[in-house]
């Protein structure tokens, strides 16, 4: 029982990946240690901080609250892939310009969660942005600049949308 392992096959950032992994490994640990994608961070490892966010089959999830074996057959995308989407790229630029990060530990989780918000609600109010990011903790920047950056990205994306 100690070391049960399983083989999985999934797609990570458009790359087909196969691996044999311990069943008790979390998805975020697998991505960081097994695949070398270190953009998703581990702040608490029990669901409180949101630094570990990844996208699994189109929805944002806590990477520490899903087992890697549960991602068998799934399509995963991480912050390393965010720049390939217009929303992700706009958010990255806005976070940089608006200085919405200091140490950057929370940033990958913030951007993926904000991207899901803008995909569902292209022009959110400040309150809606705060509600969407309520599960993402930042310990240094403060939230005003982060909300500003999401609004900036939203405004730019609506300008270019038809």
């Amino acid at each position: 029982m100690d070391n049960q392992t399983l083989s999985i096959a999934c797609t990570i950032n458009d790359r087909a990946i196969r691996a044999t992994i311990p069943v008790r490994q979390s998805l975020v640990d697998f991505l960081r240690e097994g695949v070398g994608l270190t953009g998703s961070h581990v702040g608490c490892a029990h669901g409180v901080c949101g630094a570990c966010h990844v996208v699994v089959d189109g929805v944002v999830v806590r990477g520490c609250l899903i087992l890697a074996v549960q991602a068998d057959g799934a399509e995963i995308s991480t912050i390393e892939h965010a720049a390939t989407t217009s929303i992700g790229a706009a958010l990255q630029a806005a976070f940089f310009e608006r200085a919405a990060l200091q140490c950057g530990f929370c940033t990958s989780g913030m951007i993926l969660q904000a991207a899901e918000l803008l995909a569902q609600n292209p022009e959110p109010s400040r309150d809606e942005i705060r509600a969407a990011l309520s599960g993402n903790l930042c310990r240094c920047t403060g939230y005003h600049a982060i909300v500003d950056a999401v609004q900036m990205a939203s405004a730019r994306l609506s300008d270019i949308a038809p």
């Binding site: 029990h46 929805v59 944002v60 609250l65 899903i66 549960q70 309520s134």
Partner: protein, 270 residues
Amino acid sequence: MKPAPFRYERPATLEAVLALLDAHGAQAEILAGGQSLMPMLALRVARPDLVIDINRIAGLGDITAIPDGGVRIGARARHAEVMASPLVPALMRSALAHVAHPAIRNRGTLGGSLALADPAAEMPCCMVALGARIVTLSSRGETHHDAASFFHGLYSTARRPDEMILRIEIPPLGPQWRFAFLEEARRLGDYAIAGVALAMGAGEVRLAFCGVEPAPRCLPATEALILAGADPLPGLVELAPMDSDDAPEAYRRHLAGVLLKRALREVGHG
């Protein structure tokens, strides 16, 4: 890896889940959304021998209209799916906005929330206020529980170790029903310090609190006062609130009264 070692199974059928529960019951944990079980594993407050992942069972999260009225919600329906469903009573949708955060609602399930029975969780008290029926399944067959008698206390329910929650049935509540869900929490998405779910129909009222007592239940004395058009607050002596350093008994009782008054105002009563 933070969890203690466990064996992992992901059966594709309900029959296979029931066989595993028969063989391992109390030593097994069902893994639904994982949004409570995974933290418990990481903190090692849960140390099951076996984890039974029910995410591969087709149809277990379906939300469907019951032909003669009402709605049937599969145990594995995710919070986000329930929130987005037009079939579900407005009470659940407004309460779910208070349940955790978007990424957690993308995974967490209704069945998981009811099985866990956290005293401060929003869904159990909504089930009581809606008069829902919680259907469990074991190799012995289905058991139907009224929500009002399903929650026994802190993290304790009528579910036996060889049973899983299969689905939830919400009775038809016509357009004359009005709902209000209100809660007080430290921050949006935190568990409630106190919350109230209120459902009011023609000549009928049901209310239940979360975060106040160890488990949600019907409050007949308070409901009778509301129906009589009297001040409901004296009825709340029937509450025996929990007590903790951050939210003493008297404070929870106070919040229960304030929230109930606001909820009644919201449904246009008083």
